[in-house]
């Protein structure tokens, strides 16, 4: 992007400051979780269930324990209370081994014999919550303690309920009855996986009652609490590996078959234990995206006023609730009416406990699913009613200043309208103008809007973050926060904020990743789209605190009041031009702290445009042109923002057209990178343009809000709306693969 070059005083916000972590990564010096080794460390491995629901009748470990180099063998019975004697998903733990070498681990694992007594299992979320379904989990509280009361009486949801939400306003039934145009449909969204390349890996060690876990963990605080619940009387400390791999939500939480298992082995052997997931385990024993079934009913007046929305969701959380089902339902409940202004709304949602592989956080939790359903639905309603597709959206969006009807507070940023205008213009410029020569290929165009919030804050949930800035006597600055750089550029963006606010040269600012000894409070770490927005705000506050301290110290050196001084270019300057270097003001070091709290999760919106080319005879569908117009508040680092948008498009393309972790009665069929269709450069659009819209969010640092998650919800529906445009078929199950397009077209021709 032009005009974003370095200013004279060094890199500031709004500029493409070079990434601080790039050099070590590109030169091969970065060390990730899976690279971890420690002296005296034992390797570990797990015997995992090949069935989706069974009682562990017996486990024979003597032969394994006798293998040379084996230090410990444990069984499920040795795991903390709550695991019980049942395995509840493919990949659940039966036994585990720690040994001196990977080879010895493998030999020992093969020597373990066990007997499972198969149990009836349930795999459909709508079936799981009925009375006649098998009970999956007697103690759902074991895996997640913070669960608000669920009032399910009279709902028909009898058991295996992880969470339940409902909300309504107006009179949805009446609204639908009165509407001139009504459309009802059911949508199904796939179980997709992040496929983070740096697989899960933890290195666990006990020191008396301290349980030290080194792992890439986004939500460190929650992870520590989870481990402390599983191992009472311990104090858990999460440390990070030197470099974190990517997360997209996949690394936010403790995984029941990873860190706790390693902890048991570490306690048993009194040595550090390293346990990782191989790729299959990374697919099946972690948290994929919640599959959902979403019923939508929408009603509009004759002149295009959307009056009524009814949304009903069933989500599949797997056997061990982890709090994410709640987020899925909250998002599905709130997002629709944070974007669309309707008089009548009814939402009901259940997150079901099943014997499928576990679901967890994945970029745009719940909002990705519900936005796909809703934007597909409104597109279809508009088509059936003869409304202009873009205008129907725009005219029904909420206006800034209106109150959110279900979540709290007013809608602050008017993002979507400007995104629409800018995106539409750019799309018109770069879309293809096919000459109709190749009659076998048809083009289609689609638009979709979506929003997601930054931070998990709400009126019932205060989010908070602290940052510490330490100015050294040599004038260099270190920032300590709850963030880790999971690739999103936290190390760089937070440094830009600190540099801009303090006037200290960006090159002299270092942002250290999360450190348990840093004594700062941060509620959620690097998850939920909050790093730049909230942690960045804390950094900005700390920087304000620092400059204030510097100015008051400078008064002794300059003939000015503290209020008249400015900190810039590594000095404190007075209006008369006199200045004192920062080094002079620092004896040992100066520590400044900033703290921010919020009860409002700020929405960010995107309006995306997609062009697809469909080969009617093979169903092959290519996304050819794509415009992501995204309201980011303010781009601290515009090129890094583009990187977020481009990555979101990649994951959205997978959701829309390519990828699904297929389970058959809970048994995975494609849990490896050769069989699970992961996107390559060929699947990305031929032309991809990013329109960065800056609406200046007052509560964010320099106006910035989060980008990582709001950028994904519009992607999949923009693409499948384009497919609808191209071939005249509305697909209500994602992914829409080439085969699905082909078969639908064939059916249409019959």
């Amino acid at each position: 992007m032009s005009g974003r070059e370095c200013s004279d005083d060094g890199w500031s916000v709004g500029q493409n400051a070079p990434r601080k972590d790039a050099r070590r990564k590109v030169r091969g010096a970065a060390r990730y979780g899976t690279d971890m080794e420690r002296e005296g460390m034992l390797y570990a491995g797990v015997v995992r269930s090949q069935q989706s629901h069974a009682c562990v009748e017996s486990v024979e470990t003597e032969a394994a324990a006798a293998v040379d180099g084996v230090a410990a063998v444990v069984t499920r019975a040795d795991l903390p209370e709550g695991y019980g004697d049942r395995v509840r998903h493919y990949g659940d733990v039966i036994a585990a081994v720690a040994a001196e070498s990977r080879e010895a681990v493998d030999v020992a694992l093969s020597a373990i014999e066990y007997d499972l007594d198969s149990l009836e299992s349930v795999h459909d979320p709508r079936e799981a919550v009925r009375e006649d379904a098998p009970l999956v989990q007697e103690y759902p509280e074991f895996s997640h303690a913070y669960r608000h009361p669920r009032f399910t009486e009279g709902t028909g949801y009898v058991q295996n309920v992880d969470d339940y939400h409902s909300a309504d306003f107006g009179d949805a039934a009446a609204g639908l009855a009165e509407a001139e145009h009504v459309h009802e449909a059911t949508y199904r969204t796939p179980r997709t996986n992040h496929c983070n390349l740096d697989r899960h890996c933890c290195l666990v060690e006990w020191e008396d009652d301290t349980l030290r876990v080194t792992a890439t963990m986004g939500n460190r605080g929650h992870a520590e609490k989870t481990l402390e619940r599983l191992f009472p009387d311990c104090e858990a400390e999460i440390e990070r590996p030197p470099t974190a791999g990517s997360s997209f939500g996949g690394r936010s939480l403790v995984k029941l078959t990873l860190e706790p298992v390693a902890a048991v082995l570490a306690r048993e052997t009194d040595r550090p234990v390293r346990l990782d997931f191989d790729r299959e385990e990374d697919f099946t024993a972690t948290g994929s995206r919640h599959p959902t079934v979403i019923d939508v009913a929408a009603g509009a007046t004759a002149d295009g006023d959307l009056t009524t929305l009814i949304v009903d969701v069933a989500a599949d959380t797997g056997p061990y609730p982890n709090g994410v089902g709640h987020i899925v339902l909250s998002s599905c409940q709130n997002r629709p009416v944070e974007l669309y202004d309707v008089e009548n709304y009814r939402f009901e949602g259940v997150s079901a406990i099943t014997n499928n592989t576990p679901a967890g956080e994945y970029r745009g939790i719940g909002v990705t699913q519900v936005t796909w359903a809703l934007e597909s639905h409104l597109d279809e309603l508009a088509r059936q009613a003869g409304f202009e597709l873009v205008e129907f959206r725009r005219s029904n969006w909420v206006e800034a200043g209106e109150d959110h009807p279900v979540s709290s507070g007013p809608v602050a940023s008017p993002g979507p309208r400007e995104c629409l205008t800018r995106g539409k213009e750019t799309f018109a410029d770069i879309r293809s103008e096919p000459d109709g020569g190749d009659s076998g290929v048809v083009y289609g165009y689609g638009v979709a809007a979506g929003g997601q919030v930054s931070t998990p804050a709400s009126d019932k949930n205060t989010d908070y973050s602290e940052a510490k800035l330490v100015l050294d006597a040599d004038g260099s600055l270190v920032a300590r926060t709850g963030a880790i750089d999971i690739g999103q550029g936290a190390e760089t963006a937070l440094a830009q904020i600190a540099a801009a606010e303090t006037g200290i040269d960006f090159d002299r600012v270092t942002v250290e990743g999360y450190d348990p000894t840093a004594d700062i409070e941060d509620k959620y770490g690097s998850i939920a789209n909050r790093t730049t927005y909230l942690i960045g705000s804390a950094v900005q506050r700390a920087a304000e605190d620092l400059t204030s301290e510097l100015c008051s110290r400078a008064v002794a050196h300059l003939d000015s009041a503290a209020n008249d001084l400015t900190v810039t270019g590594g000095r404190v300057e007075a209006p008369d031009g006199d200045a004192v270097a920062l080094e002079t003001l620092v004896e040992d070091s100066i520590v400044a702290t900033g703290r921010v709290e919020t009860n409002t999760a700020v929405p960010g919106y995107g309006v995306h445009f997609a062009e697809v080319a469909v080969d009617r005879e093979t169903g092959k569908t290519d996304v050819t042109v794509y415009v992501a117009a995204q309201d980011v508040g303010y781009a601290i680092n515009p090129t890094m923002v583009e990187g977020q948008l481009e990555g979101a498009v990649q994951h959205g393309i997978e959701f829309a057209t390519l990828s699904e972790l297929q389970l058959s009665e809970g048994i995975p069929e494609n849990a490896n990178l050769a069989d699970y269709p992961v996107s390559s450069p060929a699947e990305m659009p031929d032309r991809l343009a990013c329109e960065i819209v800056e609406t200046n969010e007052r509560s964010g640092p320099f106006g910035a809000k989060g980008v990582g998650t709001p950028s994904i919800p519009p992607v999949a529906p923009a693409i499948t709306n384009a497919i609808r445009d191209a071939v005249g078929v509305r697909f209500t199950t994602a992914p829409v693969r080439d085969e699905d397009v082909f078969l639908a077209l064939q059916e249409g021709e019959q």
Partner: protein, 292 residues
């Protein structure tokens, strides 16, 4: 019990005769190693545990790609990259097109033609062009050498006619006459570097505005790659027209028997086959100088 797994014995014979001796004499399960692109996965995933490895990757007798006397000879250890870079891949376009779509560049740099043919995966892209060329495999065996058509070598799903102490030496085929012949490879895959759903190779010779010779080969449509005599006989002798190609391509149904698998359903593959054959034929015909 030892904490170490048994390491296979490893031999790098310096001649085919030595290699064959090893295969005959070594006890247990002996695996021939060429490029290792498939074998290393089978090891890692625990599907294959070898007691001995016979590495033929540097055997001079198995290497080399040459043309002469109107015939091409491809040594078993020729990599996909070597083949794609050789002028024979330009001359017989379907060979180059098939090669360049196989997996990715890294795999093509190490994976061998011989390894592919011996693994006999029914969805490999290299096989249909070779079937169209009526390729012949050469095998080092007890009495020296034996040759048989590739179609006879591929016996079933991942099964070949190769005996326990035989060694594939290479594959050979007559080069199509450059004038009036053309070839093409068409395939569908859900993602780049993913499994082939269906692939169709065609080799066409035209003469005086009619189809003089037609060869059609498909992969991922049966338990081995196949030729389609139904399409071939429907087209030979007919005038070179789009309609003739369309009509003939529909006959492919008679020669395929696809299964549901992760790359697609049998129904989809049946639907794709005719289209890909037709497109491949149209391109091959065009390259042959046929006026469509």
């Amino acid at each position: 019990m030892s904490g170490e797994r048994a390491t296979p014995d490893y031999f790098a014979p310096e001649s085919v005769a030595d290699a064959r001796r090893r295969l005959a004499e070594e006890e247990g399960f002996v695996k021939v190693v060429a490029g290792g692109q498939t074998l290393m996965l089978l090891f890692r995933q625990g599907f294959v545990q070898a007691d001995a490895l016979v590495d033929v990757s540097r055997l001079p007798e198995l290497s080399g790609l040459s043309t002469g006397d109107g015939r091409a000879r491809v040594g078993a250890t020729t990599t996909y990259a070597d083949l794609a870079a050789h002028e024979v891949a330009d001359r017989v376009t379907m060979l180059g097109e098939a090669c360049n779509g196989i997996a990715d560049r890294q795999v093509r740099n190490a994976g061998t033609i011989g390894g592919a043919l011996c693994h006999a995966d029914p969805a490999f892209d290299i096989v249909p062009p070779l079937l169209c060329l009526d390729a012949e495999v050469s095998i080092a065996s007890e009495d020296g050498h034996r040759r048989l058509p590739l179609s006879a070598f591929l016996v079933g799903h991942m099964r070949t006619d190769l005996g326990p102490d035989e060694l594939l030496e290479g594959v050979a085929f007559d080069l199509p006459a450059p004038e009036q012949s053309g070839s093409a490879y068409e395939k569908h895959a859900a993602v780049d570097d993913g499994w082939t759903t269906v692939g169709a190779a065609t080799l066409v010779t035209v003469s005086d505005g009619t189809f003089f010779d037609v060869r059609v080969g498909l992969t991922a449509v049966a338990d081995t790659a196949v030729r389609s005599p139904a399409v071939e006989s429907a087209l030979v002798g007919n005038p070179v027209t789009e309609d003739a190609i369309e009509a003939a391509s529909e006959e492919v149904i008679a020669d395929i028997d696809p299964l549901d698998d992760l790359s697609g359903s049998a129904e989809y593959k049946r639907g794709l086959a005719g289209t890909l054959v037709a497109r491949s034929l149209a391109t091959a015909t065009d390259r042959a100088g046929g006026d469509l």
